[in-house]
């Protein structure tokens, strides 16, 4: 219950795989896409369900966890402090590359700037000094160069291709 005695507003979100999430308003408003939904539909009923056709339940749960913690950090004036770094490190520790990619696609679709910054940084850290083959496999990108083109690009920056991690 808030100080004014009003019930905390809950936002309903429905994922692509049909799951319904109930999210506290300040957390849901972190998602730019949800915020603009309500900005554009000012008279939307309180129990309106916002459809999220590009997000499935698993990444959304992860995103809500992240945003909830960060909303609280900001409320407590802890933004930018060690506490936040510790949370972020713990949050990312157990995530597989596959989960990270799902998170970043979902965060991009929902348009959550803070989380996108954090995720792109995390992914960049995982790609540092890795081989081209590793990067391709990481994102599931196909090599669409012709052998001649690849040879030309390789020559262009030959020095940069020595000594990268095999994995």
């Amino acid at each position: 219950m808030s100080k004014l005695g009003q019930a905390k507003r809950i936002i309903f979100l429905k994922t692509a795989d049909g799951q319904l999430f109930e999210v506290d308003e300040p957390v849901a408003m972190e998602f730019e896409i949800v915020k603009s939904f309500f900005d554009e539909n000012e008279d939307a009923a309180d129990d309106t369900v916002v459809p999220l056709p590009n997000v499935s339940a698993e990444p959304l749960a992860g995103i809500i966890e992240f945003c909830k913690a960060h909303v609280e950090f900001r409320a407590n004036g802890a933004a930018g402090k060690d506490e936040v770094k510790k949370f972020n490190a713990e949050y990312i520790k157990e995530k597989s590359n596959e989960q990270l990619k799902e998170l970043i696609l979902a965060a991009n679709y929902l348009n959550i700037k803070e989380m996108l910054d954090f995720l792109t940084e995390t992914i960049a850290n995982r790609l540092k000094n890795k081989s081209v083959e590793y990067v391709r496999a990481f994102f599931g990108i196909e090599n669409d160069f012709t052998p001649q083109e690849e040879e030309a690009v390789r020559k262009e920056y030959e020095w940069a291709f020595e000594g990268v991690d095999e994995d």
Binding site: E98, K101, I104, L105, N108, L116, D117, T120, E121, I123, A124, N125, L127, K128, N129, K130, S131, V132, V135, R136, F139, G140, I141, E142, N143, D144, F145, E149, E150, V153, R154, E156, Y157, E158, W159, A160, F161, E162, G163, V164, D165
Partner: protein, 375 residues
């Protein structure tokens, strides 16, 4: 499995990579190759290049001259790191004057009258117009980037009389050094006046708070040595307070974690690190820690006789502090032969080994990016 990585997400990830990893991403696919040429990416990467650990540019001139290598310092996986050889354009034999925001300043080391600005990661370089009478005067250089105006400025300080330190023709005539400035993108040097100091050139740049820093030679016998700064914005020289009452003779300046710092050598093998916590406030100089004796692996023996002729062979300085890494360690260079990471929290040293590192090198801390040089 991802079928489609949105353009803006790829751009954002690539912009956070160290420059050597970014270059490598050209080979991933056509779309990424095009992305690395995208001016938006170059700009975004440029603005973020300070967020990663810097890279090191290693300059070697022995046994082959004009060799440059790059070394990425991303912490955590040192074991797999390698030194990459850079394709250096055909230039006369050079010395590295300094590095600032992605660009190196090189000086012809034989004729001493030519200067080059060079981006080792794009291969692009320009030769600067010849400054007046550079060849027959001793000159000290500084090179720095000014983010407010996105300008690279080169300052050249020509010293008229070089005091030998023991005999002066006169103590009455004030020393005078001519100051010339070149802004990258302009056509000529500007003479902006004279200053009463003789700064000392040291390799590398000490750029902090928009100012370049040097130690000076004493102006008169027994007169104090000073720390001076040159402000890239108003182009004025100012005296900067020294730590305590230390003689700057034993001091070398370095930027550590965004603070002007000084390594004060107690002797060849030990030094104290002082940090100026509030810029320009003398009282804020604090002795942060002391680095004790360490002999890196392989350095127990002295160098080969033939190397003593090299310009990098400097017996007097046993080690220098290069930078503070993101993990809190200090990067040290021992006698241009070994890189060591020093952990000040538990006072431990770690010898760093890299595949392909040359035997002798002069290291420069470099913030690698793909900025183009506009002339």
């Amino acid at each position: 499995m991802i079928e489609y990585l949105p353009h803006e997400v790829a751009l954002c990830i690539l912009s956070r990579l160290p420059v050597t990893s970014l270059l490598q991403c050209k080979l991933v696919c056509r779309a990424w190759y095009n992305l690395t040429q995208n001016p938006d990416l170059v700009t975004l990467h440029f603005s973020r290049s300070g967020e990663n650990d810097p890279c090191l540019i290693l300059h070697c001139d022995y046994p082959i001259r004009n060799q440059l290598y790059s070394l990425e310092l991303s912490t955590g996986n040192e074991e797999n790191q390698r030194v990459n050889k850079i394709r250096v354009p055909m230039l006369p034999e050079f010395n590295v004057v300094g590095s600032s925001k992605g660009l190196l300043c090189l000086r012809d080391s034989l004729t001493k009258d030519s200067l080059y600005i060079y981006n080792p990661f794009t291969g692009g370089y320009v030769k600067l117009p010849k400054p007046m009478r550079l060849s027959n005067q001793d000159a000290v250089f500084g090179f720095g980037f000014r983010p407010e105006t996105k300008e690279y400025k080169m300052v050249m300080i020509c010293c008229y009389q070089i005091p030998s330190g023991f005999h002066f023709s006169s103590e009455i005539i004030p020393p005078k050094s001519q100051v010339h400035i070149f802004t990258l993108g302009c056509l000529s040097w500007r003479h902006v006046g004279n200053i009463p100091y003789y700064p000392l050139q040291r390799p590398g740049q000490v750029l902090i708070n928009g100012r370049l820093h040097w130690r000076t030679q004493p102006q008169k016998r027994r007169s104090p040595r000073l720390l001076i700064s040159f402000d890239l914005a108003d182009e004025q020289f100012r005296v900067v307070p020294k730590p305590g009452d230390l003689d700057t003779y034993k001091l070398s300046l370095v930027v550590l974690g965004g603070f002007l710092s000084a390594a004060v050598h107690r002797n060849h093998r030990q030094c104290d690190i002082w940090v100026m916590k509030a810029y320009d406030v003398k009282e804020s100089w604090t002795k942060q820690f002391s680095i004790g004796i360490h002999v890196p692996r392989g350095l127990e023996q002295d160098v080969a006789q033939s190397f003593r002729a090299s310009k990098f062979y400097r017996n007097r300085s046993s080690f220098q502090v290069l930078c503070l890494l993101k993990n809190g360690d200090l990067l040290l260079d021992y006698k241009c032969r070994a890189l060591v990471s020093y952990n000040p929290r538990n006072d431990t040293f770690k010898d760093l080994s890299f595949h392909g590192i040359p035997n002798w090198f002069e290291p420069f801390v470099h913030e690698g990016n793909l900025t183009l040089i506009n002339m």
